[in-house]
Structure formats: C-alpha cells, structure tokens
C-alpha cells in the first residue's frame, strides 16, 4: 500500500494531525504546520516529475499510479487511487494553497491548535478527493472536506458567522444530497446486466453501461450536486456570506481549493461518465453558467465589502470553469482546468491580502479606506498584481486561462454555443470595472482615515505567503504551454471517443 506515492497525500496530513495533537505551544504548532505543508509541496513536485517522466517514457494509460485496495467487499467499495494531468495539477494547487494558508494564519487567535487541526483535516478531505477514483471514497473525502468548514467559520469567523456557517454547510449538504442520489444511481448502472457493479470511475467509463435514459436523470443530479460547490447560479449564495465570515486561511482554502472540487467533480463524474447526456443537456447548464459569469461580475460592481466583491468575482470566474467544461472540446476543457488553477491561486492571493488588510484596518468596507498604497506599499502592490491577474492581464494566469476558454468555446460547431461564448466574453470588461473600482478606491487616492497612517506594511510571513502565490500566478501566465500539455494529455483519452468528436 505504501509503495504508491499518492497515498502519502493523505498520510502526511494525518501525521500532521497527530503531531498537532501533541503540540504544546504556538511555536510547535507552527513548526508542524510548516514542515507538513512544505512536505506536501515537495511531494506534489515529486509526483509531477514522476508523472511527466512516465508520460515522456510513453505511458499511454488514461491514469497513472493506479492502485486499489479493498475496503468493503459486499458493496465492492475500494480505496482506489490514480491520477491524470488534471489531478496532478489540482494536487499541486492544493499543496501550494495549504502552504500559503499556513503562513497567512501565522497569528491565528484564539485556539491556534484546534484551528490548525480542523484546517489540516479539511486538507485531508481535499487531497483524498483529488487522488480518489472510487466514487464512494471520493464522496467520503468530499464530506470530510465540508464538515470542518462549519466549525472553522463558526468559531474563528467574523461578522454574522453563525448564520454564514450554517448557511454554507446546509447548502453544500443539500448539494451532497443530490450528489449521493446520483452516485448511487451510477453505481447501480455501472455494469452491464449480470456484471460486477463497481464504484471505480475507470471501470464504469470502460463499461459504458449507463443507458441514455438513466443518464438524463443522473447527469443533472451529479452536475448540480457538484455545481453547488462550484457556485453555479442559482445555488451560489452561500459563497458571499460564507467567504465574508470565514477567517483568512479558510477563505483561501475554500475559494482556492474547495470550489475546485466542484468543477473537478463535474468534469470527473458528471461529464466523464455520462458524456451523451452532457452533450444533449449542456444547453440548460450553459445558460445557467453563462448567467453566473455575467451576473456574478455585475453584482461585484456594486458591493462595498472587499470579501463580497471577491466572492462575487469568484462566482463569475468559477462560472466560466463550468461553462467551459460543458463545451465538450479539448481546448475549452483545458481552459477550464487552467482557469481552476488560475482562479485558485489568485483568489487565494486576494483573500490572503484582504485578510492582511482587514487585520490592520479592522474594516473591509472600501468606502472607509483609501490611499493604502502610501501606507502599506507591499500589500498594495500585491493587490494590484492580483487584480491584474483577475482582469486578465497577459503574463499572469488569468489571461491564458480565459483565452483558452474563449478560443476553445468559440470552436464549437453550434451557433448557440458561439453566441453564448460572446456573452461570456463580455465579462472581461465588467471584471475590469469592478477590479479597477476597488483598486482605485482602496489603494489610490488620498488617505481616508487618519488612523490608517500609523499602520505597518507586511511582515515576513505575510510576504512569504503572498510572494509564493504571485510567483505561481506569474509562472502559469508566462509558461502556459507546460500546463497546457500537462492537462491536455488527459483529453486524448476515452471521453471523446464516446461522442465521436474531438
């Protein structure tokens, strides 16, 4: 079991949990968290290298590092793992954000030990989800990632935190209910008459036994189930409240990684296993996600709370992820995955910076702040860079992701899809409006509040957290083809053969 590198993505956080439980003071907690999250980054880099090496050596299998250990025989539940380019990218993203999040919560108060325990438990769920290819364990890890969120917001949050925590958890649980129905449905149709039923994604996809009638029923269930976490209109309202109340690192992890679970799940389960239904029903969800894209951006234009602005911006950007996945062509889907990476990194950066600014000014209302560029130049410059990434400046990650999506989507043979692509394109202008509005009010102009003049710039751990994320954002933006090829390979696999298109 322990000769498979993937299992360590769950083992390391579990060891961290043990280590944290033994910690006596904040120093020890920090040490454990830093060592653990660094180990995760190293692990994901090793995985990336190994993965690329195997691909370069000509490994053509859809997933690599595939392994399966029986867990519960009567229902054929296994702990099955395996990765393709997309999972590798997602694992990298998660480890980077856990790393940055650790430094962003350097001074967390009160109960630092408990905070880190829940945070690491959350990351167990996240990592487990991305390495699983067994629907049951996948769902289990999904739930593991959701529950800690309730406590993290409820205890360490700010503002109307009880309401937000409850709302977020209940709405996502509602999504899970759909999802569970869908997954069980898939299980019972996973093999042809008389065959061994299975939860394993690869086997289900090979069997291709889910008949069309059932697909029409199961596809919407799973897509909506995951879509709730991907902030799909009209199930996105947990996001503004939840993010606004969550503590910094939780916002980072939630927007940066957890929302990606939604997009990833939509792709890996809903579309991968039921491509025919996806093809036929895509128009419904295209309309919904298209609305998300534009609607989220417009809503962001008039918000005054920094976190609300960013949460609505996430609705818009994540809407683009689901939008592109539904286009069912290689380029657009590659773009969707790139957008997940890009959005994950830049919202994490945004939330980290907002947390740092809030920690100083004790307000997130942009009307009460101004001219921060003069007071905290480092944070302000980082904020401008994050904003530029968000509005799609070439050289940063947002541009390549969005352009891949737009070009890919526009290659669709159907006029309806192309027109909707143009609608989605409009978001680039609206994004510019709300980003520049915030940047102009918050960072530029005269100093609004005289008390702010005494504030200090970023500390070393804050700098480390922000710079890590900026470097990653710039790396994707400057060398997109590396990520493009890493992700792209996945799509040469079976999914398009079913539809007879590519």
């Amino acid at each position: 079991m322990f000769d498979n590198i993937l299992i360590y993505f769950v083992v390391i956080p579990l060891i961290m949990l043990g280590g944290l439980a033994l910690c006596k003071n904040i120093k020890q907690i920090r040490t454990v968290a830093v060592i653990g999250s660094t180990a995760l980054i190293v692990l994901s880099v090793v995985l990336l290298m190994g993965y690329l090496e195997q691909r370069a050596a000509g490994a053509m299998a859809e997933m690599l590092y595939v392994d399966s250990w029986t867990w519960f025989t009567p229902l054929n539940i296994n702990l099955a793992v395996g990765v393709d380019g997309i999972s590798v990218a997602m694992l990298m993203l998660s480890s980077i954000i856990v790393f940055a999040g650790t430094f962003a919560s350097w001074k967390i108060n009160p109960l630092p030990k408990e905070f880190f325990l829940w945070l690491i438990l959350l990351s167990v769920g996240v990592f487990g989800f991305f390495i699983s290819i067994d629907l049951f364990t996948m769902f289990m890890f999904y739930e593991v990632a959701l529950i800690p969120m309730y406590l993290l917001i409820g205890v360490w949050g700010s503002g109307n935190k009880n309401y937000s925590a409850m709302k977020l958890t209940l709405m996502l649980m509602g999504g899970s209910a759909f999802l569970m129905l869908g997954l069980i449905g898939i299980y019972y149709h996973s093999a042809p008459e008389g065959g061994q039923l299975t939860w394993n994604i690869l086997e289900i996809s090979q069997n291709g036994a889910i008949d069309k009638g059932w697909q029409y029923f199961l596809f919407p269930l799973t897509f909506v189930g995951f879509g709730v976490l991907g902030a799909m209109f009209p199930f996105h309202t947990w996001s503004p409240d939840g993010h606004a109340s969550a503590p910094t690192a939780v916002s980072m992890l939630h927007a940066g990684v957890l929302m990606k679970l939604g997009g990833y799940g939509c792709f890996r389960v809903a579309i991968y296993l039921m491509p025919e239904a996806a093809n036929e029903l895509s128009w419904i969800f295209l309309i919904l996600t298209g609305i998300s894209v534009v609607y989220g951006a417009f809503s962001a234009c008039v918000q005054t709370d920094l976190k609300y602005i960013n949460a609505y911006s996430s609705v818009s950007h994540c809407g683009l992820v689901l939008f592109a996945i539904l286009m069912l062509n290689t380029t657009a889907m590659t773009g969707a995955i790139m957008q997940m990476l890009s959005h994950g990194l830049m919202t994490a950066l945004f939330f980290a910076l907002i947390g740092m600014i809030y920690g100083r000014t004790h307000t997130r209302d942009i009307r009460l702040m101004g001219g921060l560029m003069k007071i905290m130049p480092f944070l302000a410059v980082c904020y401008v860079i994050a904003g530029m990434a968000s509005l799609g400046l070439p050289g940063l990650s947002g541009f390549v992701a969005e352009m891949t999506i737009f070009v890919g989507s526009f290659q669709h043979a159907d006029m309806f899809h192309r027109v909707f692509t143009i609608v989605a394109c409009c978001s680039i202008v609206i994004t510019a409006v709300y980003i520049l509005r915030v940047v102009g009010k918050l960072l530029f102009g005269p100093v609004q509040d005289k008390h702010h003049l005494e504030l200090t710039d970023a500390t070393w751990w804050e700098r480390l957290s922000a710079i890590t994320l900026i470097v990653c954002v710039a790396a994707i933006g400057c060398f997109p083809n590396f990520f493009n090829e890493l992700i792209n390979f996945t799509f040469d696999g079976s999914i398009f053969k079913v539809l007879g298109m590519n």
Binding site: K167, L170, M171, F233, P234, H236, T237, W238, Y295, F298, S299, C301, V302, Q303, T330, T331, G371, M373, K374, M388, L391, G392, L393, P394, G395, F399, V400, M403, T404, F406, V407, G408, F410, Q411, R418, T421, I422, C425, C426, I428, V429, A432, V433, L436, R437, G440, L443, F444, G445, P446, P480, N481, N484, E485
Partner: protein
C-alpha cells in the same frame, strides 16, 4: 539580422522593468534614471541597426531580385497551443512597417527617457516611473513585431496596462486615478470587440498568423464560405470588430473620451504613449491586416467614415480648449484620424495604394512633431506651473529654445513646406481626392482647422499678453539640457523627415513607389493652411476682443465644442445611470433578496414547520395517553360506523 539582436530589443526593456520594478526602491533616483535611459539607449542602437540592415543592406532575406521588400520571420516560438492550428506564437516579424515602428518607438522612447531625467527630477516614485516606461517600451515593441494577431492582442493588453499605470502615476490625485480607470475601461471595451473579431476570424481561417492571412487574403475570404450574419458577411463583421479594438486604442469617435483625460499623466508620458506610439496602434493594426481589409471594401469604408468624422470633430473641439495638453490631445485624435482616413481610402488601383504609404508616412512624421510639441508643452508647464494657456503669454522672450522648437512643431503639423507634415499630409490628401472628392475637400478643410488651432495655441503661449510673472514668484526660463536636447533633436527631425524617400521604403505591396508631389492638391492645402494661420495671427497675436466676440456670436457651437459635444456626460449617464443603477444594483438586490431570499425561505419554512409540530413530541406521558385514547376511540368509531 541575427536572432540575438532581435531578442535583445525585446529583452532589454523587459529586464529593465523587472530590475527597476523589484530593486528600484534600493536605488537612488539618479541610478534608476541613468540605468533606464542607458537600457533604452542600447535598445535604440539595436533597433536602428536592425532597421538599417533591413532597409538598406540589400540582403536577399529582406529584398528579392526585383527590388520588392520581403517579410522576414526572425524567430517564432510556440507559447500556447490551443489546437493543432490555433497556436499563439511569440515571434519577431521584420517587414517595412515593423522596422519603421522600431525606429519610431525607440527614438521617442529614448528622448522621453532622457527628457524625464530633468522633468521628473525629485518626484517621489521616480524609479517606479522609469520601471513603467520600460514596461511600456517592451510592450509596444512586442506589439509591432507581432507575428500573429494573438501576439498582438497580448501586447495590446500590456500597453493598455502600462498606459493605465503611467496615467495614474500620481496616484494620490483623484483625477489621475479616475482618468487611468477610464482609459483602461474604455479601451477594454474596445478590446472586447477586438477579441471577438479574432475569435470569428480564427474560427473560419484556423490561423492567427499574419503572414498566412495577408499573403493570401483571398483564402481568408474563401474560408468563410460566404457566411452572412445579420446582413453583413462574417468577414466584414470580423474586420469591423477588429477595427473596434483599433478605435479604442487610437481614440476614434465615439471611443475617444479617454485620451483627453489621459493627460493627467506626467507630460513626457503623454508625449510617448498618448501622442507618438500607443495611440497609433490602431492604425498599425489596420495597416498590418490591410490586404485582408481589401477583401471587404465595406470595412474600409467604415474606417474612412469613422476617421473623417473623428478628424473633424476633434479639430473643432481643439479650437476651444484652454488646457494646452488637451488642445494637443484633440490634435492627436484628429491627426490619427487622418492616418485612418488614409488607410480607408487606399485602394491598389489608386496610385498603387498611395493611401497606405501616406498613412505610415504621416504616422512617422506625426510621431516626431507631436512628441516635440508635447515635450515642449512639458517644458512650458514646468516653467509656469500651469496647464492653461491663460497663465502663459509672451513666453518667446523667456524661453527661446522652447519657442523656436515649438514653432517648428506647429509649422510641421500645419503642413507648411518644407516641414515634415507637409509631405505626409499631401500624400493623404492626394489619396483622399482620388478616392472621392468629398473626402478630399473634407480633409483639406480639417487640415485648415489644424493650422488654425495650432497657431491659436502658439500665439496664446508665446505672444498675446504677458501675465505678471514676477508677481507669481519667479520668471520662467528654458529647461535644463536634458530637456532641451530632446526638443532640439526632434525639431531637427521634424524639419528634415519629409525628405525621407518613404515611398521606396514602406508601401502596402512592399514594392518601391516614387512619391510625386501633386502641386494642385499641395498648393490648395498650403493656401488653406496659410490662410488659417493668417486668421489665427489676426485673432491671437495681440490681446484683443475678437476671440471673445466670435465666441459669443456662435455661443451654442462654442459652448458645445468647449464641452467636447457632451460625450463625457453621455458616457457618465450610460455607465452610472444605466449600467450601475439599472443593471448592477438591481442584480445585486435580486441576488440578496430573491435568490438568497428563496434559500432563506427554505430554512425559515423548515424552522416554522418544526416549531409548529414540535408539540407532538413533547415527552409528556399524560398527553400521549390522551392522544392514544382519543385515537383508539376514533378508530373504534370509524369501525363501528363502517360495520353497521
């Protein structure tokens, strides 16, 4: 032309940006300024040698046996492969227009770097300023050497961002912040058109590559298969949308509103970005795609109409502005519109497409004399600490170098022989007349207006009535050598640039073309210009009542023009009243109250129902017994009734 040189041309400014951007704070002002200027100087030398090699070496890579110039791909690296055909490459395309632009950009950029050493002396954020200048130079150079339309789009966005950063350089000033925001958003809106145009074009042609498209434009037309969308061919749509991108950057009406406000940036920035280089990107874009535009003449006609309207509009507005930088800004809009018109009227059968050559020629000469005028304006503002000409007057005595160079600039833009503007403007008018007499007359009239407003400005600054300078504290004087040297160099170029045999260097077909000055057209235009200058002399040489009288005589027109025909108010109405108040706010409200309200309603209903029925689970045994008894009785009663 070796690869190293061309890579260096792009890499040097980029490295300077990173160096000054990251380590600038640790450097002294002097160090940062000298580093930036030196870096640009080396880039200038490399760019000159590249252009010189391209035009004059006679190397078979650059010119074929018949004397036609060739397009040469110095390098072309894959950056992002969307599909097998649709690949973004980053490369370096050397051809007449890109070589010419290399010269223009590096020249002006170097002059501005040098000039800023004096102009920005002692400003906070000096290092940041030089970092942004380097970023801009890098982006602009990358734009003009783009080998494919997506590379151009990438650098197009980057110049937009560097323009944003430089306009908002004085970030504590609210007007500068809102001007930078406006510039970015308006051009972003235009870029949306550009992007959609690229999407449409690439959907049919399956390529981004300029050479593939422009060397066989008939294939581009054929690939659309005659598809029609809302009454226009899809190629027309694509070209017009791409042109929309150009309208944004080049400040064509109605997307021009950001340029006058952009004058909030430091004056050397206005000279570099908002007069000489970035704002001509739109012209360059149309020129780059020109063979494809020829396939759809409708698109070119739209270019012409937009250009002609903008030229007239901006010229009228320029006659009524008080802020000298705004006069120059509107003048820039008007002159770029000249270039657009020249491209729009160019046809291969009219003097071998002279309009194209004229447009590029005017781009070149305009860059020189407009940069000169802006830098001159900078020297004036530096001396009197005001942007308005009302604070100036009689300055010829105090600032002789600025005076002479500014005068040369005015003569050049007015199109007086032998200054540079004469030659390029003459070719534009020839092209316009040959295409359609209407455009010829129209543009000649605009040329007359140009001479009028430029000399109005000139007389108001250097003659008119002298305000009491002593009273304001100090007497204005010429700037230090770092500022006057660029003025003198640019003035010298503005005098001689007209004699460059441009037709032999830059034509649309890349065949040499010999310029003949059409003296009927040239004579008329000179006569009009001289008359306009004479009128300006009468009105503004000495302080008198005439201008005020005329203004009150045509009060309506004057007020409207002074308010730039209320375009800004219109935009404010659309953005604030319609987009913010009628779209964004209702959406935000809808989201909070309807969508979220529905979610909350589920919660509330669940809650209420739980409260309502919780009495049933009270745990009170007596109640249970009563309910049990009543239930039994009820069932017994029902049973009895049914049985009986």
């Amino acid at each position: 032309m070796d690869q190293i040189t061309s890579i260096l041309i792009l890499a040097l400014p980029l490295c300077m940006f990173l160096l000054l951007g990251i380590f600038g704070n640790k450097m002294s002002h002097k160090m940062a300024g000298i580093l930036g200027t030196l870096g640009m100087g080396v880039t200038l030398i490399l760019a000159y040698s590249t252009a010189f090699t391209y035009f004059f070496s006679g190397n078979e890579l650059f010119v074929d046996a018949a004397g036609n110039r060739l397009q040469h791909l110095v390098f072309d690296q894959t950056w992002l492969a969307f599909t097998q055909h649709l690949v973004i490459k980053l490369g370096f395309l050397l051809d007449p227009i890109s070589a010419m632009m290399l010269v223009v950009i590096t020249t002006i950029s170097f002059m501005v770097h040098l000039y800023s050493l004096g102009y920005m002396h002692g400003e906070t954020g000096f290092q940041r300023y030089y970092a942004f200048l380097s970023l801009f130079s890098f982006s602009m150079l990358g734009l003009v050497v783009a080998t494919n339309i997506f590379q151009m789009y990438i650098f197009w966005e980057l110049v937009g961002a560097s323009s944003y950063l430089l306009i908002g350089f004085y970030y504590t000033k609210p007007s500068a912040v809102s001007a930078s925001k406006k510039a970015f958003i308006v051009t972003r809106f235009a870029d949306l058109g550009f992007l959609i145009g690229i999407l449409i074009l690439s959907f049919y042609t399956e390529t981004f590559d300029f050479m593939t498209m422009t060397n066989a434009p008939e294939n581009v037309l054929a690939s659309t298969g005659g598809a029609v969308f809302m009454g226009g061919s899809v190629l027309t749509w694509a070209l017009v949308l791409i042109f929309m991108g150009g309208m944004g950057k080049s400040a064509m009406m109605p997307l021009h509103i950001w340029l006058p406000d952009a004058m909030e940036g430091p004056t050397p920035v206005s000279a570099l970005i908002h007069a000489a280089t970035m704002v001509v990107a739109g012209v360059f874009l149309v020129a780059r795609m020109f063979p494809v535009y020829l396939m759809e003449v409708t698109a070119l006609e739209i270019v012409t109409v937009v250009g002609a309207l903008t030229a007239l509009y901006a010229a009228i507005v320029a006659c009524t502005q008080v802020d000298i930088k705004r006069v120059l800004a509107f003048s820039t809009i008007s002159q770029i519109a000249f270039m657009m018109v020249a491209l729009g009227v160019a046809r291969p059968d009219i003097h071998e497409g002279v309009g194209y050559m004229a447009s590029m020629f005017h781009l070149f000469t305009h860059a020189m004399f407009k940069a000169l005028l802006f830098l001159g304006a900078g020297a004036l503002i530096h001396a009197v600490h005001s942007n308005d000409y009302t604070a100036m007057g009689g300055l010829r005595k105090y600032m002789p170098v600025t005076h002479i160079t500014f005068l040369i600039g005015c003569l050049a833009i007015a199109g007086i022989w032998p200054f540079a503007g004469f030659f390029s403007k003459d070719e534009i008018l020839v092209a316009a007349f040959e295409n359609n007499a209407l455009w010829g007359v129209w543009m000649t009239a605009v040329a007359g207006l140009t001479s009028f407003y430029m000399f109005r400005l000139y007389y108001r600054i250097f003659w008119w009535n002298e305000p009491d300078y002593e009273h304001h504290g100090h007497v204005p004087h010429d700037a230090p050598w770092t500022m006057t040297l660029p003025l003198i160099i640019l003035a010298a170029v503005s005098v001689v640039a007209g004699f460059i045999p441009f037709g032999e260097l830059v034509t649309w077909s890349r065949e040499a073309y010999e310029i003949h000055i059409n003296w009927t057209v040239a004579g008329t235009s000179i006569a009009v210009a001289v008359a306009a200058i004479a009128l300006a002399t009468v009105m503004y040489r000495k302080e008198n009542e005439l201008p005020d009288k005329l203004a009150s005589r045509f009060k309506g027109l004057w007020t409207a023009a002074h308010h730039r025909f209320y375009f800004d108010e219109l935009y404010m109405f659309i953005t604030h009243k319609i987009i913010f108040n009628l779209i964004s706010r209702p959406i935000a409200w809808f989201d909070r109250h309807i969508i979220d309200g529905t979610m909350d309603m589920f919660a509330t209903v669940t809650n209420k129902v739980s409260y309502a029925i919780r009495g049933l689970q009270s745990g009170n045994v007596q109640t249970y017994v009563w309910v049990y008894l009543l239930g039994t009785l009820l069932i017994a009663a029902v049973a009895v009734i049914c049985l009986v």
